[in-house]
Subunit: 309 residues, 2 copies
DNA sequence: AAATTGTTTTTTATGGATTAAGGTCAAAAA
DNA sequence: TTTTTGACCTTAATCCATAAAAAACAATTT
């Protein structure tokens, strides 16, 4: 059966929305709610009916108002708002990056399904989509193999990333002055400065800023394959840094400074400066990732294979 | 239920194998057959048992021989040897490239499933894998949209292809003389010459040669993401040219000559020659693809948008 | 007329069952 | 001892069913 995570998430959002209304206020129309909550009217109606049952709103049809004696406004637990597909993704990434999944490990659909508490269909669907991230391989009629989150994965990933980013950065530098992207990158520049000034407390926010920055650069000359590739990077970094917190503050501070140099190079429209700043930034991002694969990668842990700093 | 296409294909292969034996000859061992037919021993045993029932082999266990009065040796029809997944792929590509599927068309899992005579699961699985080919887009909870086999698809595809191929070609040119790839490319050179001399009758064989050639180049500096991307190209070209035969002989002849120049540049280890030949070849391949998208792409068919030759 | 709600129809997300194919282990033969 | 076969166990490919969510259509209300 389909899960009702869409409803539950939207219901929680609706609770927040109602919380901002005063007693007796009329509710927005179903269409408006549909738009604001990002779900279909069908789901909105289910939410309204639930709000009614729970004594949060009164009336029906066009005459729905926030009840004066509102009920408890109990939200659904976060866990119930996560779709099966997302859960599978999270659990799989955890298994892969956090547990020490060794290169060559066979991936068993049935076992994962049991372990994750979902049907095999869900696992298959995930694996099929995940296949092109370069970390697993299908053996027809015989399951999947985990290729390993290894140094060579990081190297190959960054080789492509560098090619793509250099190309986009160059294109960015050649944008006409009239392009709206210039404003947007200046705004990002300020955001970087702001974050840097509050780095001690807000260093977690860098990850999201990083993603926005690189996507902005890519948008200078859109290419669906590059965007698609950037999804891989985003996913890997998202999960990877979620579980790899050592030195996070320092790492992010360095990256912010690199971004600033990079942004300034872009604003200066100087091709060779752009290339330099871009390479420098990607180079250190690569270093970080490679270092972190060491724990996973038997090859990389030979003596002398890893720098200490 | 799982289809038995693996068995049927392997059975047909086994028939060919037995056809080469004389009456009374002993059959190879199960393990040998398993290796030669590319299936598990379980499937081999099913084949042997079927051969037995059909009166093609005699005896059991270790004492199986080809029967002197062999039965009819009837093969399974080709169609029954194609797995569901492959069928879905073929039918979908046909729908997309041959029928005039318009950009923006909604893709309906249920309808495709009915149309192709498979369960929706099969469609979903295909769409999930196919997603990263850049031709369809998922709308969560609301199906898929066909983005169109358009000129911009071709342009974006070739932008990446060029980046990747130039990089691999450069790497190829820098390979040490001791590399075994030099022999292989010389062999390919001869194959090209041979095909060119028989072009009138064998021009269909170019497609496969083309794929092998470009994969060889990529293998100079392997990168999983590049290989993965090349799968897209292979698939697109495979199906595209399967249904777009106009001018095929001439097109292929031109491409072979371009390949020859390209190969000679590689053999000459001259970076600028390599780059030149590579660009020239990809440029004309791009032209061909773009021209052929015109029929699909409403944008591209404006007057003046298309050259006549 | 345009927006809103009520009703019905489609379609996707997910679980579950079934059979083909793969894999394992030990007995038998070479 | 290594192959080969026999018997059995697991797993992947595939179909099907059902509830949630979306979409389409009709009936109201402003």
């Amino acid at each position: 059966m389909k899960t009702d995570t869409v409803f539950k998430r939207a219901f929680n959002d609706a609770i927040d929305l109602v919380a901002n209304l005063r007693d007796g206020d009329p509710l927005p129309s179903e269409n408006t709610l549909s738009r604001e909550l990002g779900v279909s009217r069908t789901t909105v109606r289910k939410i309204l009916s639930t709000l009614d049952h729970r004594g949060i709103v009164n009336g029906s049809g066009r005459h729905r108002i926030v009840r004066s004696a509102r009920g408890a406004m109990q939200r659904f637990p976060e866990a119930e708002t996560i779709s099966m597909a997302t859960q599978v993704e999270e659990r799989f990434m955890e298994w892969m990056l956090r547990d020490n999944a060794r290169p060559g490990t066979a991936i068993n659909e049935l076992e994962l399904a049991r372990q994750f508490g979902v049907a095999t269909t869900g696992i298959r669907e995930f694996l099929n989509r995940f296949q092109h991230f370069g970390l697993i391989e299908r053996r027809p009629n015989a399951g999947w193999v985990f290729k390993g989150f290894t140094a060579s994965f990081a190297l190959e990933l960054f080789e492509i990333r560098e090619m793509f980013e250099l190309r986009s950065a160059r294109a960015f530098g050649e944008l006409p002055v009239s392009s709206p992207l210039w404003e947007r990158i200046e705004a990002l520049h300020s955001e970087h400065l702001l974050l840097l000034s509050e780095i001690e407390v807000r260093y977690h926010d860098f990850s999201e800023l990083d993603s926005r920055f690189h996507r902005l650069i890519n948008s200078a000359a859109p290419n669906r394959f590059i965007n698609d590739f950037y999804d891989i990077i985003t996913l890997i970094f998202h999960y990877h840094y979620q579980w790899n917190k050592q030195d996070e503050r320092h790492r992010n501070e360095v990256a912010i400074r690199e971004h600033l140099t990079y942004i300034e190079a872009l604003l200066g429209r100087n091709p060779s400066m752009i290339e330099l700043a871009c390479r420098a930034h990607l180079g250190s991002a690569k270093e970080t990732l490679i270092r972190s694969t060491a724990g996973h990668d038997p090859e990389a842990s030979r003596p002398g294979g890893e720098a200490t700093s």
